[in-house]
Symmetry: C2
Subunit: 406 residues, 2 copies
C-alpha cells in the first residue's frame, strides 16, 4: 500500500537515496531540508568528490528517469517550528524519516561554535518534531537515524543488544531486582551526545504521548551509489572524504587512488560496525513497513552488517587497490584495541542479506574514487578537530572513532 | 577561604537565598539572571504570594543589612553565548552554581510552545555553560541543581542510590558482567526530561574535558525564608502556589489558610521527597566546599531530607492548621500508590541535620501563608496543564507529581 512519507534531511548522503528508493517503491515522498550540509561543505571548502546537482535538477532528473514526482520543501526543522507544524498538518504523513541532524563527530568538536550549533540543531530539531507529532495526533510513525556510536567502544565482549538491556540489581539484603533498561550510552563526541539525548526524548514521547517511534542505530555507512542514484548523473550521491565528514573508509580509498600509503594510527585496533548505503535504504524501507504498535516502547534496531578493525579495513583496501599500509604514531591518548559485537537480529529476520565490504569495495573504488579523482582536494583529507585542547588523558577509544570515522 | 562564585538563576526561589547565604559566608558572589521567572509569573497572572522586590532593591537591602555587595548581570545563558563567555572569562569563578532553568513540570506540559521553550532554554543554557567551561579551562567547579523527579516514581522498593547503580548483565552463556551505570531515568514531564538530558551532558564533559561537576538531585523544596532572607522585607523569598509553579505543600497551605478543605486526588498514595529551603542553601554551600577532583566522574548527590505520601502531607497540614481533608476522584489515569526510598548518605556524612516538615510547618503557615493571605488569587491554585490531550492510558504516577508538585 503506498504511503505518504516525509523525509527530513532528504538532501543528504543517506536521505537522498532513501527518498529515491521510497519513491520507486511507489510511496508519495516529500523531502524537507535546509541545505545546511551544502553550506557546511562550502564553509569547510570540502565539497563532495562526486558533483552534487542543485535540488531542482535532482528532482527533474528523477521525474525523467522514473516518471515519479518527489516534492521538496526548504525548511529548517530546528528553527522554524511553525513551518514544520504547517507541513505536517498539511501532509498528514504515514511516516516521517528523520535524517536532519548535524552528523559529523569531528565537526561537532571543532570549537564552541560548532559544539553549540550541533546541540541546538539536533536537539531542537528532534524535539520540535516530537512536540508537533504529539500535538497533531495523526499516529504518524517516526523513523529516526541514530548511531552505533552512542554505545561507546569499550565493550568487554558482551554483544550489544537492540536498544534494551536486561540487568539485575542486587539489594543490600541480597534480593535481586530485575530491570530492563535503555542500553547505557557512552558518547565519544558532542555529535554522539546529541544522539544519546535523542534516545531519551524518544522514550519520553513514546510513553507519554504513545508516539510510534523506530530508532535505527546505524553503523558507519560506506558506498556511494544505489540502484536509483545510478540511473542518472544528476542523481549521484555524496562521497565525502574530508577530515570532518569523510569516514575512515572513504579516506583510505582516496589515499589509495591518489597513490599514498594508507595511514593507520597506532595499532589500528579499533573495531567499528559498517553497512552499505544500498542496505541503509533497504533497512529504512523495512522499518517503515514494520512499525511498532501505538503504546509500545521505542523500537530500537541495530542497522549494521559487519564489524572490522581499522587495520583490517586498511588491509582490505590495500588488497583491492594495491596501496601500501603505513602505521604511524597515534597522536591521541586512547585504548589501542577494542572489541565490538552487535546484534542485528531484527533486520536479519526481516530478510536483510547485506552487501559486505569484501564484495563491494572494488566497484566503489573504480566507480567513484578513481573516476572522480581529478576533483579531489588533497588538503581536505587530514582531520583537524581536536577533542580537547590539550589532548588530555581520559580520552577513550570512543573518541578516536569520531575522528577517524564518525 | 573566600571564593569567587557565580550564581546563575540567582533571582529565583532557590538561587536568591543561596546567593545571600554564600555572600554571608564571605564569598564574592555574582548573580546572573534573565528575569524569565518574573515574566512567566506575569504571563500566568500568578505572582508570588510574598511581594518580590526589584533586583536593585534586593541588592541594596542586602548591602544595608550585611555590609556585603553582590554583583548582578542581566543575562540569558541560553540565548547569549558571547555574554556568558565574556562573563566567565572576566570573573574566572571558582564555582558556578546553575539554577537557571525553567523548572515547572506543568508549565513544560501546557502546550507545544512551552514544551519547546523548556527544552530550548534548559538544554542550550546548560550546554552553553559546559562548552564555555571546557573552552576556558579555568578548572571551575560546576554545581547544578537536578531533581529527584528524573528517577520516576515506580520504584519496586529498592533505595535510590546517589546517581550510579551497580548492575549485573548476564551473557548468553551465563557469564556475569558487572557494570556501574548512571541510574536509568524515567522522566514524567518535558521539564524532567531536560534534567535527564542534562545528566548525559555532564557525564560527557566530565569525561572528555575533565570538568569538575556536582549534580544535586533535589527533592521538592518547601518553606520560604532563610536566616538571610528574613533580615529585611525587601529580601523576602518567593512563595508560589499556582497550578504551574506551586508545589503540593504550598497549595495545601493556601487552601488551609483560605478556609478550604485540602483536596487530595485519589488515595494520595504518591510518595515524594522533600527538603527545606534553609537546607537547600546549606547543601549547596557544602557541595561547593567538597568538589570532586579533576578527572573524576560527575559527583551526584541526593539532596532530600525525608519522604512523605501526599495524603500524609495533607494530614500534617490539617493537624497544624485545623483544615479538613477531602478525597476527590482522581481525574488522571495513574498508579495510585508508589514507594520511594532515597539515599542521602553523602550530605548526612557532611553533617546535614535537616529541618523536618513536622517541625517547620507551623512557622511557615503563620509567617507566610497567613500573613500574606490577602494577596492571594484563588483562581491561580488550580492546575490546568494536561499531560496529553486525551489523558490517555500509559500515564504513570510520575505524571501526577508534576501536576501536584513539580
Ligand atoms: N553517514 C553515516 O555513516 C551515518 C552513520 C550512522 C548514522 N547516521 C545518521 O543518519 C542521518 C543522516 O546522515 P547523513 O550521512 O545522510 O548526513 P548528511 O549531513 O549528509 O545529511 C543530513 C541532512 O540533513 C539536513 N539538515 C541538517 N539539519 C537540518 C535542519 N535543522 N533542518 C532541515 N534539514 C537539516 C542537511 O542539510 C543534510 O542534507 C544522521 O542523523 C546521521 O547521524 C549516518
Ligand atoms: N523548587 C524546587 O522545589 C526544586 C526542586 C528540585 C530541583 N529544583 C531545581 O533548582 C533550580 C532552581 O529552581 P527554583 O525553584 O529556584 O526555580 P525558579 O524558577 O524560581 O528560579 C530559576 C531562575 O533562573 C532564571 N532563568 C531561567 N532560565 C534562564 C536563562 N536562560 N538565563 C538566565 N536565567 C534564567 C529565572 O529567571 C529564575 O530566576 C532549577 O533548576 C530546578 O529544577 C527546584
Amino acid at each position: 500500500m503506498p504511503l505518504s512519507i516525509l523525509v527530513l534531511g532528504g538532501d543528504g548522503f543517506c536521505g537522498w537515496p532513501t527518498a529515491l528508493h521510497l519513491s520507486r517503491l511507489g510511496h508519495a515522498v516529500t523531502i524537507a531540508d535546509n541545505f545546511s550540509r551544502r553550506r557546511i561543505a562550502d564553509e569547510l571548502d570540502a565539497p563532495s568528490l562526486t558533483p552534487i546537482s542543485p535540488m531542482n535538477d535532482r528532482l527533474t532528473a528523477w521525474r525523467r528517469v522514473s516518471g515519479r514526482t518527489i516534492d521538496f520543501v526548504e525548511l529548517d526543522i530546528a528553527q522554524d517550528f511553525a513551518g514544520l507544524r504547517a507541513l505536517l498538518a498539511d501532509l498528514r504523513p504515514d511516516a516521517v524519516v528523520h535524517f536532519a541532524e548535524q552528523r559529523a563527530a569531528p565537526y561537532s568538536m571543532r570549537d564552541t561554535r560548532r559544539k553549540t550549533y550541533t546541540v541546538d540543531n539536533n536537539i531542537n530539531g528532534t524535539h520540535n518534531l516530537l512536540a508537533v507529532l504529539a500535538d497533531l495526533e495523526h499516529d504518524t510513525h517516526l523513523v529516526h537515524l541514530g548511531t552505533m556510536g552512542v554505545y561507546g567502544y569499550d565493550g568487554d565482549g558482551l554483544e550489544i543488544p537492540e536498544g534494551y538491556l536486561d540487568v539485575t540489581v542486587e539489594g543490600p539484603d541480597g534480593t535481586r531486582y530485575p530491570r530492563s533498561i535503555l542500553y547505557p550510552t557512552r558518547p565519544g563526541s558532542v555529535y554522539h551526545l546529541t544522539k544519546s539525548l535523542d534516545q531519551l526524548m524518544f522514550a519520553f514521547y513514546a510513553r507519554n504521548d504513545r508516539l510510534r517511534i523506530t530508532d535505527l542505530h546505524q553503523g558507519i555507512v560506506w558506498g556511494t551509489q544505489t540502484a536509483e542514484t545510478r540511473l542518472d548523473p544528476a542523481l549521484v550521491n555524496r562521497f565525502d572524504y574530508d577530515g570532518d565528514y569523510g569516514t575512515v573508509l572513504n579516506r583510505f580509498l582516496m589515499q589509495a587512488v591518489a597513490g599514498h600509503p594508507l595511514t593507520v594510527h597506532g595499532t589500528g585496533g579499533q573495531t567499528r560496525a559498517f553497512i552499505n548505503i544500498q542496505d541503509t535504504v533497504r533497512c529504512v524501507a523495512l522499518a517503515i513497513a514494520n512499525p511498532p504498535a501505538r503504546g509500545e516502547p521505542v523500537k530500537i534496531l541495530n542497522q549494521a552488517a559487519e564489524t572490522h578493525r581499522v587495520r583490517d579495513l586498511a588491509r582490505l583496501v590495500a588488497e583491492v587497490t594495491g596501496a601500501s599500509v603505513e602505521y604511524v604514531d597515534n597522536p591521541r591518548n586512547e585504548a589501542a584495541e577494542n572489541d565490538l559485537r552487535v546484534s542485528n537480529a531484527t533486520f536479519r529476520a526481516l530478510g536483510l542479506d547485506p552487501i559486505l565490504l569484501r564484495d563491494g569495495l572494488l566497484a566503489e573504488t573504480t566507480e567513484i574514487a578513481a573516476k572522480y579523482i581529478d576533483r579531489h582536494n588533497p588538503d581536505a583529507i587530514a582531520a583537524t578537530a581536536l577533542w580537547t585542547r590539550d589532548n588530555a588523558p581520559g580520552l577513550s577509544s570512543a573518541d578516536a572513532l569520531g575522528r577517524a570515522a564518525q
